[in-house]
Amino acid sequence: MADEAQGGGIHIDPMHQFVVKPLFGQPGDHVGMLTVTNATLWMAIAVLCVVLLLVVGTRGRAIIPSRLQSIAELAYGFVYKMVEDVAGKDALQFFPYIMTLFMFIVFANMLGLVPMSFTTTSHVAVTAVLALAVFLTVTIVGFVKNGTKFLGLFWVNSAPLPLRPVLAIIELISYFVRPVSHSIRLAGNLMAGHAVIKVFAGFAAIAAVAPFSILAITAMYGLELLVAFVQAYVFTILTCVYLKDALHPGH
């Protein structure tokens, strides 16, 4: 990546951290479907972390929980309450699915903040699959539970009759834009934050601005920690909102 021979200038390549490359073999090797890449590694670490927290952490099954068990219970209660409050009691059958999404995203986001790591959730490919899965689930559940009444979601009964077809088109478009915004929001937030940190890190090579640069990295890192959690939260709560639309269509 570095052309140090040319010297003098700072080398800033904020996007290099997002490159998917094979874990074994040459950097330029072809990335096949089953190739073990850095994405594989960091997804596996995320799975491991989930297991560590939710399985190993709770193996005591203590009435008075240990610290790790407390966190696991807190995460459980957090998502459970979110599903119950936002999507309603009948959405609780989807709780394991939503919990899976939340745990994966929050751990992938947090692991992405480990220096030299790879942020799996900064890739549109990943977030788009997650968002599309939610979109498909919600759409299928909507039609299975409500039949054609689910289409009432697009027919705004509270609006004046002449406006309804126009609104229906807008609603339809907004419905299909959901997975796009759902996925781009997550990937975009993480990618932007990581790229900005990398840019500041590049400036740290200049002695004059290095203190400011390091300070800025620290500040950005704090902000990114917040973003990492908030984006996982946003993704999850939007999933709940969409699920609520599917279970209880109509405005």
Binding site: A39, V55, E73, V199
Partner: protein, 185 residues
């Protein structure tokens, strides 16, 4: 790949542009199948672990804790009730004991009073007896004294008359003295 083709640049905005120009790694569609495959695998793994182990376990722990808390609260309530009952019993016993004590005190007081009254009455009769006896004694003494006075007066009168040289008739003298004394009396 983006990494290999990026050239060193002087300014950050240019660098970002350059990176975009050679393509964001996010839009490198060649890596999509790989990422999607591993993602699906990861999500399925987490879902399987969560539904098979983690979530039932946490749910049971939470339920058990709720049960324990409810039980403990119920036990505490029961104990509290018992404590209240015990206190009531204690208060009742205390009141009974107090009443008993008062009763005993009153009885004792009445007994003492009775005894006292009897003793006073006994003392009164004894005093009355003694005083009657004394009065009788005093009367006797007085009578004796009067008799003595009469005898002395008779003797004296007889002697005086004898001293005057007159024949003395004891009977006359006695009669005269008696008359005189009665007259004086």
């Amino acid at each position: 790949m983006a990494g290999e083709t990026t050239a060193p640049i002087e300014h950050a905005p240019d660098a970002a542009h350059a990176a975009e120009a050679v393509g964001m790694p996010q839009l490198d569609f060649a890596t999509f199948p790989n990422q999607i495959f591993w993602l699906v695998l990861a999500i399925l793994a987490i879902y399987y672990i969560l539904t098979k182990i983690a979530l039932p376990r946490i749910a049971s722990v939470l339920a058990e804790r709720n049960g324990t808390i409810t039980n403990d609260i119920a036990t505490a309530e029961e104990l509290k009730l018992k404590a209240v009952e015990a206190e009531q019993a204690y208060q009742k016993a205390l009141a009974e004991a107090r009443a008993q004590a008062q009763k005993i005190a009153a009885e004792t007081r009445a007994e003492i009073k009775e005894e006292l009254d009897a003793a006073i009455a006994r003392a009164d009769t004894q005093i009355a007896e003694k005083s009657a006896e004394s009065a009788a004694h005093i009367g006797e003494i007085r009578d004796n004294a009067l008799i003595s006075v009469e005898a002395v007066a008779k003797d004296a009168a007889g002697e005086i008359v004898r001293a005057l040289g007159r024949p003395v008739d004891d009977g006359d003298v006695a009669a005269a003295v008696e008359t005189q004394m009665r007259g004086e009396a």
